[in-house]
């Protein structure tokens, strides 16, 4: 069995908030001028991750299926004179880099994942296998526009960041356990986010041969 303890958690569930409103809401959380080129996902994930105070010895596991959809749309729209800024911003895993580069904050281990129906399971397994004392598991999506119409972007904007430690400690929020089991299941990123956002307990199959338990204190 793989187990880690939830020491801190930040979720952001902004509903139908526009990118401009998100920028206005979160601009005070970043250095002056820094938000001008940040994506919505960068703002939300960056803010959630910043709440946990990422340090150089933390491992960061980042999960996003569609990543910077608006920057990607903008980059595609910029042809035949493609935008260098939108190119670099659209590259997975820019959301985390927007925060960490802004802070000039190096980190030893940074594991960015993408995926679909089992993305949360794969990110959790990567997090629980990391040897780092503290793993920051973060992720999210941003709502697309014309890519969304083609089924190539998320319909929902959300972000989360959770600090996972090996040792339990007073004040911990709960525990996350992965163990081998018979059967099959799925756990996508949005479902995982809803579990975290609602502090909802979970015990079920999330992948072939894998069971997840989320216990809250």
């Amino acid at each position: 069995m793989l187990e880690r303890h939830l020491q801190a958690l930040h979720t952001d569930n902004p509903g139908d908030e526009t990118p401009a409103a998100a920028r206005e809401r979160l601009k005070g959380r970043f250095p002056p001028g820094a938000t001008r080129r940040m994506t919505t996902l960068g703002l939300l994930v960056g803010n959630a991750l910043a709440e946990l105070g990422p340090g150089p010895d933390d491992a960061i596991v980042y999960a996003s299926g569609y990543a910077e959809s608006r920057a990607l749309e903008g980059f595609l729209d910029s042809f035949p004179t493609p935008s260098p800024t939108l190119f670099q911003t659209s590259i997975h895993p820019s959301a985390v880099q927007q925060l960490m580069i802004g802070r000039q904050a190096p980190v030893r281990e940074f594991l960015p994942l993408s995926g679909g129906a089992r993305l949360a399971f794969h990110a959790l397994r990567a997090a629980l296998l990391s040897p780092a004392p503290r793993v920051l598991l973060c992720g999210g999506e941003e709502r697309g526009t014309w890519l969304l119409e083609r089924g190539l972007a998320s319909a929902r904007t959300f972000a989360f960041a959770a600090a996972l430690s090996r040792e339990d400690a007073p004040g911990s929020l709960g525990s996350v356990r992965l163990s081998r089991a018979g059967g099959d299941g799925e756990l996508g990123l949005e479902s995982w986010f809803d579990l975290l956002d609602g502090r909802t307990a979970f015990d079920g199959l999330v992948a072939p041969g894998w069971r997840l338990e989320v216990v809250w204190r």
Binding site: P80, Q88, P106, R108, E109, L119, L152
Partner: protein
């Protein structure tokens, strides 16, 4: 984090490049062949001719379904074993492009058939069905160190006893999307790359590439004796000027390589600053180790380069001869840069290193199991 104690072995490994499979690529590199050719940066939409190494017969323009699928099928057919993606035999798919070229074609033409492979999840899911994998398929995307991270995660799964064997599969095929992006950054231009050469200006080439490695605890002639990663988070497209990011990454592997005679397969895209920083750091971490880079011939195979070049490194050790650094002429950035091929029988380890946007660094030590 350096996983220097991991006893995980590479049981199988292979690749395809513009020069062929691992054996053919290695042989062509020994002959000093360059696969890069000038190609309009936006394919049929034109633009400046830039150095690209496309698979034989493949166009830069995206097709629907993608015209690289057959190459992926052929590569996959070379992987022994079955039940990949089942419990105990996970797959780690890595890359930095997936089907993103389809998004460019979708936007230019409006043809919905290009959307089918466009997103990483959809692309991987279709590939999973095509190749007969089960559902345990992780997708790792961290630009040009993606394949290294796939190896790291697969190693951990095997080492922890959660997998009997793990398959790391990586693919990156060029499109106007990625060529246009690097061209916009001005590092892809009409110049051909001259890795580790003292030049007036730097330039990179890009290449198609795909590769696989089967990792096992029980079998395999090659050991991943140490793996290390480090992320500078200094700037999106450049490294700290003091080279500390390279040092921090390589120090993890240097510890595992202590007492071994090493040759160093660097990232070596052809950019000047990164090339100089890398050669200097390699000299500090592995004094006397010859440095080679193959992207002057193959182009930069992007997120897959770590796995493509692992396959060529293994082929080099198998054959007893390491191809030298290809591309350009004139003085090198350091005496350690090998521009000619060399016998490698006296060496007992290879360090393979890659770098990526965000100042990401990754390296591993490969040696006989």
């Amino acid at each position: 984090m350096a996983d220097s104690a991991a006893p995980v072995k590479v049981a199988e490994c292979g690749c395809i490049t513009a020069l062929g499979d691992a054996g053919a690529t290695h042989a062509a590199l020994l002959r000093g062949e360059c696969a890069l050719r000038p190609v309009p940066v936006l394919g049929r939409d034109g633009g400046q001719a830039v150095p690209l190494a496309l698979l034989p017969g493949r166009l830069l323009d995206e097709a629907a379904p993608p015209d690289w699928l057959e190459a992926v099928r052929r590569l996959h057919a070379a992987i022994p074993g079955a039940d990949w993606g089942s419990p105990g035999r996970p797959v780690f798919v890595t890359g930095s492009n997936f089907g993103v070229g389809g998004l460019y074609a979708l936007r230019r033409t409006g043809d919905a058939s290009f959307a089918v492979w466009g997103a990483p999840a959809a692309c991987t899911e279709r590939l999973r069905a095509l190749l007969g994998w089960g559902p345990d398929v992780s997708v790792i995307s961290h630009a040009c160190v993606s394949a290294h991270l796939g190896l790291l995660l697969a190693t951990r799964a095997v080492e922890a006893g959660l997998a009997e064997e793990a398959l790391v599969f990586s693919f990156d095929f060029l499109s106007p999307f990625v060529a246009g992006g690097f061209h916009a950054l001005k590092i892809l231009n009409s110049g051909f790359p001259s890795p580790y050469r003292l030049c007036d200006s730097g330039a990179i080439g890009l290449g198609d590439g795909a590769a696989f490695a089967v990792l096992s605890r029980e079998r395999g002639a090659w050991a991943l004796a140490g793996q290390s990663v480090y992320n500078e988070m200094h700037q999106f497209t450049s490294n700290r000027g003091d080279g500390s990011g390279f040092d921090r990454c390589l120090e993890g592997v240097a510890a595992a390589a202590r007492g071994r005679r090493i040759w160093f397969k660097g990232h070596g895209t052809g950019t000047l600053d990164a090339g100089q920083l890398e050669v200097s750091a390699a000299g500090r971490a592995f004094p006397g180790a010859p440095v080679v880079g193959w992207k002057g011939s193959l182009g930069h195979t992007l997120g897959s380069c770590g796995l493509v070049e692992l396959a060529i490194a293994i082929e080099s050790v198998r054959a007893g001869r390491t191809p030298g650094t290809i591309g350009g002429a004139g003085p090198t950035m350091a005496a350690s840069v090998a521009t000619e091929s060399f016998e490698n029988g006296a060496f007992d380890g290879v360090v393979c290193a890659s770098n990526a946007f965000g100042g990401a660094h990754a390296a591993f030590l490969l040696c006989h199991a």
